[in-house]
Each structure stands twice: as structure tokens, then as C-alpha cells.
Symmetry: C2
């Protein structure tokens, strides 16, 4: 009954989705995807929470592999790491495909009756 491919990778995929499952973090990702690397101070200026709050969110994104940091002088710059997002997207595609295929099977089954 289980659907191997998707379910099997649920342990590694869930953290990625969870990382995106917060409005503040989604905004951070949206900001970062315009390119380049931004400091914590810059990113904080774009939100309405404290710097420490932003740091925590960035850490969550980093743990999920969605984002990467690089030190430059006294700054810590963050940038997007889109590979994991790509995998999440492929999973959603796979689910959609699977669902469509199932609909097709159900339809042809109904018509054969």
C-alpha cells in the first residue's frame, strides 16, 4: 500500500519542507533568491523581528541545506543553496504525476464497467 520512493525519503525531505513552513523563513528565502549574499543585519532590516530571531531562522534553513553562509570580515553573509529546493520540487512533481496516473486508472476502470 505504501508508495516507496516518496515515503522512503520522507525522513530527509520533511526537514526541507518544515524549513519552508514558516512565513518569516519563506520571506528570507524569497529575499535571498534575488541573488547575491546578504548579511544578518541586512536580512533583519527586512523583517519585524530581532536579529537573534533571524539568526535562528537562518540556522534552521541551513540545517535543512536550503541556505549557506560564508564569513567575510566581521560579517556573515548568507546565500541560497537551491539544490534541496530542487529535490523538494521534484517530490511534489512526483506526487502530482502519481495522483494523475491514479485518476487515469480509476477513470478507465469506471468506463470498463
Amino acid at each position: 500500500m505504501n508508495q516507496g520512493g516518496i515515503a522512503q525519503s520522507s525522513e530527509t525531505l520533511a526537514p526541507i519542507f518544515a524549513a519552508l513552513g514558516d512565513p518569516t523563513r519563506l520571506k528570507l528565502v524569497a529575499t535571498l533568491c534575488v541573488g547575491g549574499a546578504f548579511s544578518i543585519a541586512q536580512l533583519t532590516a527586512n523583517t519585524d523581528i530581532s536579529r537573534q530571531g533571524v539568526t535562528k531562522h537562518l540556522q534552521v534553513l541551513a540545517d535543512a541545506g536550503v541556505v549557506r553562509d560564508v564569513k567575510l570580515g566581521r560579517e556573515r553573509l548568507w546565500q541560497l543553496e537551491p539544490a534541496q529546493l530542487e529535490e523538494a520540487k521534484r517530490t511534489l512533481e512526483a506526487i502530482g504525476k502519481e495522483w494523475e496516473a491514479a485518476l487515469g486508472r480509476l477513470k478507465s476502470f469506471a468506463e470498463s464497467k
Copy 2:
């Protein structure tokens, strides 16, 4: 500095990602995407948590619009509602595109120097 389209919809998108951000729920989605409608009892048999636990997870998925229930006799059957997943997928696509475009800009800027 903000990236309108994606950030603006972060309030509606975040719950969808959050709903997918749990291994148990991801497994439920994977099970449901093979098609048809499954009862709570059937879905519970596929996990290692209690029926009430599964019910709660299904509720979270339903609140995010990822899943839909239909009553049939004394059973409550659940099935996938892939529209929201589709929107989540489009968002990830948009982020990827945006990022690639930004990389292109950075590259051509570096080459012009």
C-alpha cells in the same frame, strides 16, 4: 530588496509547506497519492502511531488544503487535493528561476569587468 511575488504569498504558502514538514504526514500524502480514498483505520495501519495521532495529522493536512475528506457510512475517507501541492511546486520553481537569473546577472557583471 524584497521579492514581491513569493514573499507576498508567504502567509498562504507557509502552512502548506509546514503541513508537509513532518515525516508522518509526508508518508500519509505518499500513501494517498497512489489514488482513491482511504479510511482513517486503513491509514493508521500504515503508521506506527495511534489512530488519534493520525486523525490529528490528517486535520493539519486538511487545514492546509492538501487533503479532503468525504463521509461514507460510518467511515471517513480521505483523498489528496493536489491543487495546493501544485502551487507549492510552482513557488519552488519560481525561486529556482529567480536564482538562476540572478546567477546569470552576476556572471555577466563579472565578465564585463
